[in-house]
């Protein structure tokens, strides 16, 4: 079991307490392609933050690759994030004054890998994304799809246990959305990368093998979607 959540609760306390997660139990195996679906305010982003060790939780337990992730120091959580999790964000979140290859290198920089090896690894991943020619371009010179592929390369470079994608197609048109989702699917099928996609688009969610529906801080149901028939619109394309 790669990810195991048991009775995870999370309450935000901004003036008045807001109980966001009300006891989440979730298991994800290595190599799975899971999407987490839910309306805004359902708690899916909070769940993603907890899965990504970006945020703490109040109650319950979260095991990631056998390690209990609870009450970690900033340094420990940064190290776990760096080694075990690759992030793909809705708004790409590339650093604007760094070229594509430098952006991809950055996680290895914080691991202390030397410049030469970092560069080689980053170039290898950019090649895999079909972006070799764009390596020395800055993010603002690239299209949304290209930027997201750079971000995926950056997420992959540390060989993480999981890829966490937060609305990865949120800022893309439908054509590039399909491309990005196909890329993620291929990574999952061919390289066995565990992928968790958080989305509110049913078409995107339909790409995954398992769909976790969240509603009001609880898991409503877990849907087996190996046939990819979850969305009536999602069979051929992604509805925008």
């Amino acid at each position: 079991m790669l990810i195991e959540l048991k009775g995870v609760h999370k309450t935000y306390d901004n003036g008045q307490p807001l109980h966001v997660l009300k006891g989440i139990d979730l298991q994800i195996e290595k190599g799975e392609f899971v999407s987490i679906m839910g309306a805004s305010g359902s708690g899916k982003s909070t769940l993603l933050n907890i899965l990504g060790i970006l945020d703490n939780y109040d109650e319950g337990e979260y095991h990631l690759a056998g390690k209990l992730i609870k009450n970690l120091s900033e340094r420990e959580s940064a190290t776990y994030r760096n080694r075990m999790i690759g992030f793909v964000f809705q708004s790409f979140n590339l650093i604007g004054f760094k070229t594509a290859v430098e952006n991809v290198e950055l996680p290895l920089f914080y691991q202390g890998v030397n410049r030469h090896r970092r560069h080689e690894a980053a170039m290898a991943y950019l090649e895999k994304m079909g972006l070799t020619d764009w390596a020395s371009h800055y993010p603002n010179e690239m299209s949304g799809g290209q930027k997201q592929r750079v971000a995926i390369a950056r997420a992959l470079i540390t060989h993480p246990e999981i890829i966490l994608a937060d609305e990865p197609t949120g800022a893309l048109d439908s054509k590039t959305s399909v491309e990005v989702m196909e890329l993620l699917t291929r990574l999952n099928r061919e390289d066995g990368v565990t992928i968790i996609v958080v989305t509110h688009e049913s078409g995107v969610a339909n790409c995954a093998d398992k769909i976790v529906h969240i509603k009001d801080g609880l898991i409503e149901r877990v849907e087996d979607n190996r046939l990819h028939h979850a969305s009536q619109f999602g069979t051929d394309t992604i509805m925008k």
């Binding site: 993603l48 340094r75 940064a78 994030r81 760096n82 650093i95 914080y110």
Partner: protein, 412 residues
């Protein structure tokens, strides 16, 4: 976990500075200007002090000059306002009674005279000096020699002329020694040319004087035994101000004026003048450093302030860095090193620019004065800068540390 400062880290910091040029230049300018102002002021103060010191050039710093004047108090039945005069016996008296004195040099002088040589004329003053006067006011001999004791004893009609007199009478230049010039109705043979540019004037500054043997001048101006001025210098280590009361009492006893009558004899003490100068420049220096360091501090606060704003602007970037594995210390050291690198680069530019400007000033100013700051002043400034850089980076770095990786997840 990596916590070392290597070339890679340096490049990472350099990149984030040099790829955000506008931000960097704006931030660095305060430091650049602060350091430039500080060093320029320090250099300027130094040059000013030197140029003022030139005024006292050649003058022994422990000299006392005595001039008789009208009494201001009645004494032993004599009315106030009585005039008395120094005389040659006073010279002997001071030599005998005050062994602390090194030189006792009498002088008679007359000014408003005209010197002439082959049709060239100039106004000048004649100073009759003794053979040891050069120990009071050191000449800068361009040609020849000074007046000696033998010249005084044998009443030779010889003279040493000052720079301006020489330039006016000998516009073509060359060594004038041996030629005769006419001053008033008397011919003097030139034995030396004094190029001293000091501006302290005892009966006229050196450059406008024709210096002749004391005995010759005394006869020429019909002074008899009288002396206009007596200059004395103390032996090494003697403070002239401590001798002044005794000199006064000796003169008062001899010339029958009230020893408490300060106005009866004018005493000019160069030691006092020098100490006033020193105090003045200590004050000026203090002001210079105060203003300079103030400007520099303002620059540092500016850097801190702008970096504070940039950290806010860079929340997403910092959040991304944190999300992909930067520990808080990575962020802290990045911001502090950015600040240090920025202050050092901008500051070095300030140092170079001030050295350049001071060099130009040095070329423009006609006097031979050093405005340039010393190597160690520059080193001190650089050290000060590094400290300022760290301090300026501290507050923004603390704020950057507080950025949570979740902040990167939010939409811009």
């Amino acid at each position: 976990m990596r916590h070392r400062f290597d070339f890679d880290t340096f490049r990472e910091i350099g990149d984030s500075l040099f790829r955000n040029k506008r931000r960097t230049i704006l931030t660095g300018f305060g430091i650049f200007w602060g350091l430039f102002m500080l060093l320029f002021l320090v250099g300027g103060g130094k040059g000013l002090k030197q140029s003022l010191s030139l005024t006292f050039e050649g003058f022994a710093s422990n000299t006392m000059v005595m001039i008789s004047s009208n009494t201001s108090k009645p004494y032993k039945g004599m009315k106030e306002g009585r005039y008395w005069q120094l005389n040659r016996k006073d010279v002997e008296r001071l030599r005998l009674l005050m062994p602390e004195l090194d030189v006792v040099a009498p002088m008679v002088s007359n000014w408003g005279l005209t010197a002439e040589y082959k049709g060239n004329t100039t106004s000048c003053a004649i100073k009759g000096i003794s053979g040891n006067y050069h120990k009071v006011e050191a000449p800068k001999l361009k040609y020849g020699r000074t007046i000696r004791d033998a010249d005084v004893e044998q009443e030779r009609k010889v003279c040493v002329i000052g720079k301006r007199v020489y330039n006016d009478l000998f516009p073509q230049g060359g060594d004038p020694c041996g030629t005769f010039i006419q001053v008033g109705s008397v011919f003097f043979q030139i034995i030396g040319v004094d190029f001293s540019s000091g501006n302290i004037s005892i009966s006229g500054s050196a450059s406008e004087s024709v210096m002749v043997p004391f005995s010759v001048a005394a006869t020429l101006f019909k002074r008899g035994n009288n002396v206009d001025i007596i200059c004395v210098t103390g032996k090494p280590g003697i403070k002239m101000s401590s001798l002044e009361p005794r000199v006064r009492s000796i003169m008062a006893r001899e010339h029958l004026f009230d020893p408490t009558d300060d106005q009866a004899m004018v005493v000019l003490n160069t030691e006092q003048v020098f100490s006033i100068m020193d105090n003045l420049f200590r004050g000026v220096n203090f002001l210079i450093w105060l203003v300079g360091i103030g400007t520099l501090l303002a620059g540092a606060v500016g850097v801190s302030n702008i970096m504070m704003v940039t950290v806010r602007e860079r929340t997403i970037e910092i959040g991304i860095r944190r999300a992909i594995g930067a520990v808080p210390r990575d962020i802290l050291s990045q911001i502090i090193w950015e600040s240090v690198l920025l202050t050092l680069t901008a500051g070095s530019a300030g140092i170079v620019f001030s050295v350049l400007i001071l060099n130009v000033v040095e070329r423009i100013v006609p006097q031979a004065v050093t405005f340039q700051i010393s190597f160690w002043t520059a080193v001190l400034a650089a050290l000060l800068l590094s400290v300022l850089g760290v301090l300026a980076g501290l507050a923004p770095a603390m704020r950057a540390m507080k950025v949570k990786p979740v902040d990167a997840m939010r939409d811009e």
